[in-house]
Symmetry: C2
DNA sequence: CAGTGTGAACAGTTTCACAGCA
DNA sequence: TGCTGTGAAACTGTTCACACTG
């Protein structure tokens, strides 16, 4: 197949594969078959082989995939082989939880700066990061930070997005329950937590 | 078209539509056109008309949709017209943030009970909910709670899922970065926060 | 011979264009 | 005239079966 456009769905699954590969690696596994990985991930083995086929020949027939090589390859594709720094805006409940969350490291992600508007919070240290005044957000331009996380109240979401774009951010993870408009070259992923919970009842069997 | 199977993607979008309709309603809007709603949501107008067409005739040609009626209809379809109670397991950083999060109410969702394993936390009151011992999880069966939220460390995720299933839960929102295996009749949605952030760099333009 | 890589068939989703109704 | 509702076309993603290889 070698070199077609990579489906979005495949890209979405790559971090999941990566997570499971790192897990397998921790367990001391050196090689892993598509079927083996499939169990860990919760998809079919052919889905996995198809997904990997978009990038070239990763595996060895009869053996499987080399866990470490594959993990490194996926990191490279996702552009997280070198640590990506992120700026957090809004250190409320969700923001604080994100700062305390230890799961970013293994994906090569690091929340390097945090901003808030409340004078009460500015200057405080939360998990190795000192909260700064949101008025000084533009300084991230100098630090070449390309990832932004929005965890402010929804009324302030669009305004915060505008500021982040002005500061040179290229990707935004939005935790506010609002659609935010940005220039085409900026990628936004919105996680509306309540929304996910809201779609569950539909799928729940009656009995 | 009237009565085919509703696409999963449409179901996924319904809570987003609902959110925007409630917003429009707050603003005092009585009717809304598909184009109008499309702007609020961030999709195309024909997508919206198509989605609604799966359920019957909601709109009035030349006028648009009645905001309140449509919102009520969507709630009914999603089975959140009557308040759905949820049980939270794990009151750490993420769990606490969820308890404090005010966004559930408008979707007819309510975190009615919370459990933790730490004796330090048991008995404490967080946002109107008293944290209970996870050993007594089974009591939710009597209270007919059908929704579970997993916010425990990943090593305990599967075990927690098993307990929730045993307690009669029908839908699980999983915040741990692990695939969890459950009987087919139970629906699981996994939100691995770091994962979403990890897929952003791939889409970020180089310049 | 176990396990990858992939064309082809299939399934699901989005886009389009326009008929039809208030 | 303005906006909905929808079949048909285009597109995207998944499943399958199997040729091929270490």
């Amino acid at each position: 197949m070698r070199y077609r456009k990579i489906p979005d769905e495949t890209v979405r699954r790559l971090p999941v594969y990566l997570r499971c590969l790192l897990f397998a690696s921790e367990q001391g596994q050196e090689n892993i078959s598509s079927r083996n990985l499939a169990e860990l991930v919760g998809v079919n083995s052919w889905q996995i082989r198809k997904d990997f086929s978009y990038f070239g020949d990763f595996g060895t027939r009869g053996v499987g995939y080399n866990v470490k090589k594959l993990a490194a390859q996926i990191k490279k594709i996702l552009k997280i082989a070198v640590v990506q720094k992120a700026a957090l805006v809004g250190v409320g409940n969700i923001g604080s939880a994100l700062l305390a969350y230890s799961g970013f490291g293994k994906y090569g992600l690091d929340i390097a700066v945090a901003f808030d508007i409340s004078p009460k919070k500015i200057g405080r240290k939360v998990e190795k990061v000192v909260i700064e005044d949101v008025a000084s957000l533009l300084k991230i331009k100098k630090r070449k930070i390309k990832l932004g996380i929005i965890a402010v109240p929804e009324q302030a979401a669009q305004e915060t997005a505008d500021k982040l774009v002005k500061a040179g951010i290229k990707g935004i993870l939005n935790f506010s329950p609002r659609y935010i408009a940005v220039p085409k070259k900026v990628k936004v992923i919105t996680i509306d937590i309540a929304m996910y919970l809201a779609s569950l009842p539909y799928y729940m069997t009656a009995i």
